[in-house]
């Protein structure tokens, strides 16, 4: 039996809600080119919400955070207009930290 993706619906709903309310953070103390297109203003909040809304459970995974491996991140890889996107975030208490929004590398 295929393992149910861990918390897909909850994670997606939580991220969408954070985007809608504006209560979310970008990670780090710099704006790195190409890493987060929402942060650099190249895509809109509405676009990211639409991407997430079209994301399937099979396009969601979790992975250890790169500098605190005991914490896990959610990764959404939805496809729109035949382009796959990569959206990565984590949640802590009431906070949502959005790490990446960019086109997925092949």
């Amino acid at each position: 039996m295929r393992k149910r993706r861990e918390g897909f619906r909850e994670a997606r709903a939580r991220l969408i809600r954070a985007l809608e309310t504006g209560r979310f953070n970008f990670e780090g103390d710099e704006v790195r080119e190409g890493k987060n297109l929402l942060q650099s203003g190249e895509v809109s909040i509405e676009f990211v919400i639409a991407l997430l809304s079209s994301c399937r459970g099979t396009e969601h995974t979790t992975s250890p955070h790169h500098f605190v491996p005991s914490s896990s991140c959610h990764i959404f890889k939805p496809v729109t207009k035949r382009v796959r996107w990569y959206i990565k975030c984590y949640f802590l208490d009431a906070d949502t930290i959005l790490i990446s929004v960019h086109i997925a590398e092949h």
């Binding site: 309310t21 504006g22 209560r23 979310f24 953070n25 970008f26 990670e27 780090g28 103390d29 710099e30 704006v31 080119e33 942060q39 650099s40 203003g41 955070h65 500098f67 605190v68 005991s70 914490s71 984590y90 802590l92 208490d93 009431a94 906070d95 930290i97």
Partner: protein, 205 residues
Amino acid sequence: MKQVLKEHDTGAALCRTCRKQTKTTYLYRDFSLTTPKLRVRRVLVGVCDVCQRTLTVPWQSNERIQATVRAARARTETSGRIEARVPSDLYERLRLIAARLEARDEAFAHVMLRFYLSQLSRSAKFAGRVRRLSVVREGSRASQRVSLRVSGKLYDQALKQAQAQGVTDQSALVRGLISAAYEDVFTDCSPQRRAVLECLADATN
């Protein structure tokens, strides 16, 4: 409705320095960007309570940062730059003008040259005078660099007028402008312009 954070609100984040989850406090800090290179003053960011590293940039602060980036990009796209090399005796004249008017050297020189550019863009007669004064004395080497950023509109109008009067390069233009200013300040040929220069000198101090 977007929720708005304020100073001293708290949160949590994963800290790269502490290598663990820590509590954060939202504080005002200057935020630096590399492309375009600029510094945004007093941006609300999430700071690690343990090591004081900036861990997060809330959405609302990022909106401010991006607005500043857009404004900076729009400025560079619409502005023109005058780049000139002038002989050092003219450069000294710039200094003398500032000293005579008790102005701060650098800041005043830029404001004054912009004012003279705008005078030139409005008056063919003045542009003709600038051309006469732009002639280089024999044996003077253009050793000093003068660089001036002006609005795109002023840049276009001034260069058009200068060209119509036969001033075709920016170094000649700046030589003429400095010489005209020097005459205005050290002779009585234009009391009105001299009065404006005195005001500009006060304003930049």
